[in-house]
């Protein structure tokens, strides 16, 4: 019973790894405890989004990742 946290862009640099497996189910407070404090601080900012199972959450504090699901931490984007 585990979920995978995926770090993207500058958040990956903060952690130094691509992803991290944690016990499931995983909610918002569990996520904040599972990541380093520097990442948790970022997650609390409005400009950082979270996707669970391939869908971006409109309210990230409602996170509830089940076994086998991926939780992606999405800092501000820049493409093109």
């Amino acid at each position: 019973m585990s979920a995978r946290i995926v770090f993207l862009g500058p958040l990956r640099d903060l952690v130094g790894v691509d992803d991290l497996d944690v016990p499931a189910p995983l909610d918002w407070s569990g996520l904040l405890e599972a990541v380093p404090p520097s990442v948790a601080d970022q997650l609390k900012l409005e400009r950082v989004n979270i996707a669970c199972a391939g869908r971006v959450l409109s309210d990230k504090t409602a996170l509830c990742a089940q076994d086998g699901e991926e939780v992606a931490l999405l800092p501000p984007v820049s493409g093109g």
């Binding site: 862009g9 500058p10 640099d13 996707a51 991926e70 999405l74 984007v77 820049s78 493409g79 093109g80």
Partner: protein, 152 residues
């Protein structure tokens, strides 16, 4: 015709532009934009993406442009990985009956790819890697389409 791709290797804009023209014989015109790594200062650029979101997001964006601007065809190609100075990062192209629809579609697609698609960009300069965030003007550009959404 809707040709949306994430590309791990380099590409040339000419073949997809020619393919779009062939696929849309009734279109009066084709507008395009090719974005590339500027020569000055940047040695290499890296684009990260997130598989479950990035390509589906680009496909949904292309569909919105097709509908909003009544396009006959659209091309959205975007590089991932490491890209050297001078190489293309992104190509968007739109074929339409009337001129301004294709030009506006290209403008719309680029504004969204720049600051509303799932990419993270960093540049390697003399002093190491730097993450790039959208400039204030990118957000202003994007907001133009939201203001207009009631009209279209």
């Amino acid at each position: 015709m809707r040709d949306v791709r994430l590309l791990a290797k380099g590409f040339s804009p000419a073949p997809p532009l020619a393919a779009l023209a062939r696929a849309c014989p009734d279109a009066g015109g084709i507008a395009s934009y090719t974005g590339k790594v500027r020569a000055g200062g940047v040695k290499v650029l890296e684009l990260q993406h997130y598989e479950p979101l990035t390509l589906p997001g680009m496909e949904a964006l292309a569909d919105r442009a097709m509908q909003r601007f009544e396009l006959d065809g659209v091309v959205v190609w975007h590089r991932t990985g490491h890209i050297r100075a001078g190489a293309p990062i992104v190509l968007v192209a739109a074929a339409s009956r009337h001129r301004r629809q294709s030009i506006e579609a290209v403008d719309f697609l680029m504004d969204h790819l720049k600051s509303a698609a799932w990419f993270w960009k960093r540049e390697k300069r003399e002093d190491g890697w730097h993450w790039i965030e959208p400039r204030a003007v990118d957000h202003t550009d994007l907001a133009r389409w939201k203001e207009n959404s009631a009209r279209v």
